[in-house]
């Protein structure tokens, strides 16, 4: 984690850690890390992270870290819906049933995806 934090934006996003690799990506102030085995595809893991962030975004509207703190359980639900046993389950962008119920007006200080030019 410390190493990932020390990494500069231009640097690459794979860290070797024992036999494993840590693939990480930073969205504004949030770091998303995935630990994968040597044979797993690194680039696809990056996109896995991205897709998860997109799902969060869709569910919360412009997602920010406060959304994830205050609705931590929903973060879990979406992750569960998306991944299972470390394997991707749904790559389709479709918000979960419960998430559909949530339409939050968002006055959050930063909109992560917007900052990344992705919104």
């Amino acid at each position: 984690m410390q190493v990932a934090l020390a990494h500069k934006p231009k640097m690459h996003s794979f860290l070797e850690w024992r036999d494993l690799k840590v693939v990480y990506k930073r969205y504004a102030n949030l770091y998303f890390c995935c630990t994968i085995e040597g044979q797993d595809n690194e680039l696809m893991t990056l996109e896995l992270i991205h897709r998860y962030v997109e799902l969060l975004d869709k569910s919360f509207g412009n997602v920010c870290e406060l959304d994830i703190i205050f609705n931590f359980e929903k973060g879990y639900f979406i992750l569960d819906e998306f991944l299972m046993g470390g394997d991707i389950k749904k790559s389709v962008l479709r918000a979960t049933e419960q998430a559909d119920l949530l339409q939050e007006e968002d006055e959050s200080p930063c909109s992560v995806l917007e900052e990344m030019g992705l919104a």
């Binding site: 640097m11 794979f14 595809n41 680039l43 920010c64 931590f72 879990y76 046993g85 479709r94 419960q98």
Partner: protein
Amino acid sequence: MPAVSKGDGMRGLAVFISDIRNCKSKEAEIKRINKELANIRSKFKGDKALDGYSKKKYVCKLLFIFLLGHDIDFGHMEAVNLLSSNKYTEKQIGYLFISVLVNSNSELIRLINNAIKNDLASRNPTFMCLALHCIANVGSREMGEAFAADIPRILVAGDSMDSVKQSAALCLLRLYKASPDLVPMGEWTARVVHLLNDQHMGVVTAAVSLITCLCKKNPDDFKTCISLAVSRLSRIVSSASTDLQDYTYYFVPAPWLSVKLLRLLQCYPPPEDAAVKGRLVECLETVLNKAQEPPKSKKVQHSNAKNAILFETISLIIHYDSEPNLLVRACNQLGQFLQHRETNLRYLALESMCTLASSEFSHEAVKTHIDTVINALKTERDVSVRQRAADLLYAMCDRSNAKQIVSEMLRYLETADYAIREEIVLKVAILAEKYAVDYSWYVDTILNLIRIAGDYVSEEVWYRVLQIVTNRDDVQGYAAKTVFEALQAPACHENMVKVGGYILGEFGNLIAGDPRSSPPVQFSLLHSKFHLCSVATRALLLSTYIKFINLFPETKATIQGVLRAGSQLRNADVELQQRAVEYLTLSSVASTDVLATVLEEMPPFPERESSILAKLKRKKGPGAASALDDGRRDASSNDINGGVEPTPSTVSTPSPSADLLGLRAAPPPAAPQAPAGAGNLLVDVSSDGPVAQPGLGPTPEEAFLSELEPPAPESPMALLADPAPAADPGPEDFGSPIPEADELLNKFVCKNNGVLFENQLLQIGVKSEFRQNLGRMYLFYGNKTSVQFQSFTPTVVHPGDLQTHILLAWPSPLAPGLPSWDEMDPGRDPSSALLPESLSVPATLTVFVLDHIIEHRGHSVQFADEAEGGQRPLSHARYGGAPQSLTLKLPVTINKFFQPTEMAAQDFFQRWKQLSLPQQEAQKIFKATHPMDAEVTKAKLLGFGSALLDNVDPNPENFVGAGIIQTKALQVGCLLRLEPNAQAQMYRLTLRTSKEPVSRHLCELLAQQF
């Protein structure tokens, strides 16, 4: 106000979370949490039943508190209650709490499993999915035991919804990874393969993951998946970017599924079916072609997804390693990535190219990128990227570019990160050795390594350079000169001193002619470093000094002065003190000839696997080892000798025991009248023998020598038909062995215990054990008569020059101070020791083998059974008034020092081929003297000491064995093959070893056994 969700959001939870966030200090936070915990506890314990919403809210709060890092010791029951709720959100929170917080040995597990079972049976797909998720998230063995049998049924049931199938597949995968034994294989496996044809892409994706994992264990059961996977892949690859709608990710069709299919195909060799293979190659080409097309989107997601497929395709091409055209295309593609502005891509390209370099088809293509890679090594900002570049340089190195690569790596080493320096050092050392055309370049490179990164040069590296210099005459002079120059630097690394000390001690004479490096200059240069060095290095330098006394007699006085100094003779370190004392004594008592023998140049080291390579393999782990050790590497290493690192003492200096041995080889001038043979009746005074008694001053040996001063014998009558010693019983000639000695000895070639000799008077039993180059032998003397033997005197002698090859330590019953015989008969002079009637008495003998050239057969032992007191000549014994003597050979044959070595057929043949010089082989064809019984033969070969290798020889009748002979100085790898011919009643025996006399000798020994 921070975002608070409405709808079914839990306001109480949101308030709690913002309270926590508003806490100014850790203490305030803990206080707030404790308040909340008390509140929840009272609610749970209260009389009033809580409604579902409240339960959910409180359980969720507990979860949050847990995630903040606090222990939660209640609320589990409420969470389990939520599982049986019919409201989705309540059930969901219940499952989440269980997944995060309940450990597998909880006593609640039965209740939880029950709830899961109900949900699995509910036929409500959302509930089933929740239950499957919980099983997968917990993934414990208990979960596996409870559900592993049910899930395959759900997976292949015709009426399961797609989402349930998907969850079931992934859940099963998780359980299989956690405990494979719990997942029953059965007819469902065939149906899982057909899920690859499912219309629902999500189901296919999940199924591919499951199959990829399952097929690793039972590839044959899932073989049919190859063609299905290829056709699926082909449909995806050829589809337009929008065909797959939902499953298109940033204009890339189904990237996850594509990557997984490519990964699945890497579990198998190329498809055998030509049509399938053709289709697959077409796919791979399409992917490579697409990489050249302009991107459909500027977004990084698009290029990542596209390149993920590309890298996976390249992995598959490398895995097949059979399509030269594709391999070269892959290499060119990676070459483009090497210069890409995305660091991720450069990193992955370097990594991928590293495996590509080991393919014979693409090795040349990889080499064309050398400049880019060198540039990467210099300019990349990430250490892990630079490390990949260094790996790739190592992988692409061959004779043509070795000099360039090694010099670049050396240059990089100066600025390299500390974390990877040692690895770079090892790699440079290996490359320099492997591709050295002239060894002066090799020596320069290693000395540079020590200069630049001395701290990271491990023992293995400098041992290796010494091995190579010792073994190669042509480089010794150059090495001496270079190392001498290197030592002149004002500050040089201790490793340089070690290498310098060793090389000058061995080969300093080669540069002594030059007045600038005359012996005194060499000595004072080395000695100027002495005081700054560690104990180990100083010990090595002391050995160098004694070698100098031999090489350069003119330095003797100076060096003796150094050795005599109080700082050496009374050094607090035992090793240094001992070396100083022994070397000083050696230099003053030994004649020049003796010195020359003792301090002779070290013999060449046996070929063995490079210790550095072994180290690098260890460092990298087994996976990387195969990549390092690819097929193109010269097959020069001889593993049979490998694996065991030389200990510093064997490499750096003859050990003290060897020195003392040399001393014994010729008696010191001070005692010229001492018989040569008597020197062998030694009590070991070495420091490292198992029975060693470090002795300074007059040793037991000397005392023993004086005791052996021979008075003239009375004419005795030999007990056994060997009158020669009796006629001339001088102590130098203890008599040749009895005629049966050889035959008796033969019995012990394949066994270690038994009766060595027996007649009507005496029985001698032997029990022996051998480990590496050491042996211990117990001799049991049994008096079969009803009267005492008087002056029973066993001794050990070595005929000829055997003592240079074998060292026998005999805690002799005759040696003063050793109790064994005195105890039997206290108060008696040892010279009149008695062997009581009908009694067996053991004596112990320790054997060290120093060298491989043991002609053990010439080695004999005498037991003098003497009656009627004290007639000194040892070779006589009296029985019934007549002295009797008996000389036998001790059953120590070279094969006793065999260490069995197991190896695979392939390794055996490779080594067999490596030992193809005519002098390395010994062969004998001989007639069977015993019945030809395979089991007996097997037992004999095992008793001989070698490992028996099954399934190596194509003819099952034949026997093949392998082992290593361990001696003090070296190890000799031995391979043997015995071919029985039952019809002709003949055998053919072939031995191959790296040392000619060993082959011959083993062959003779073994041939007599059948």
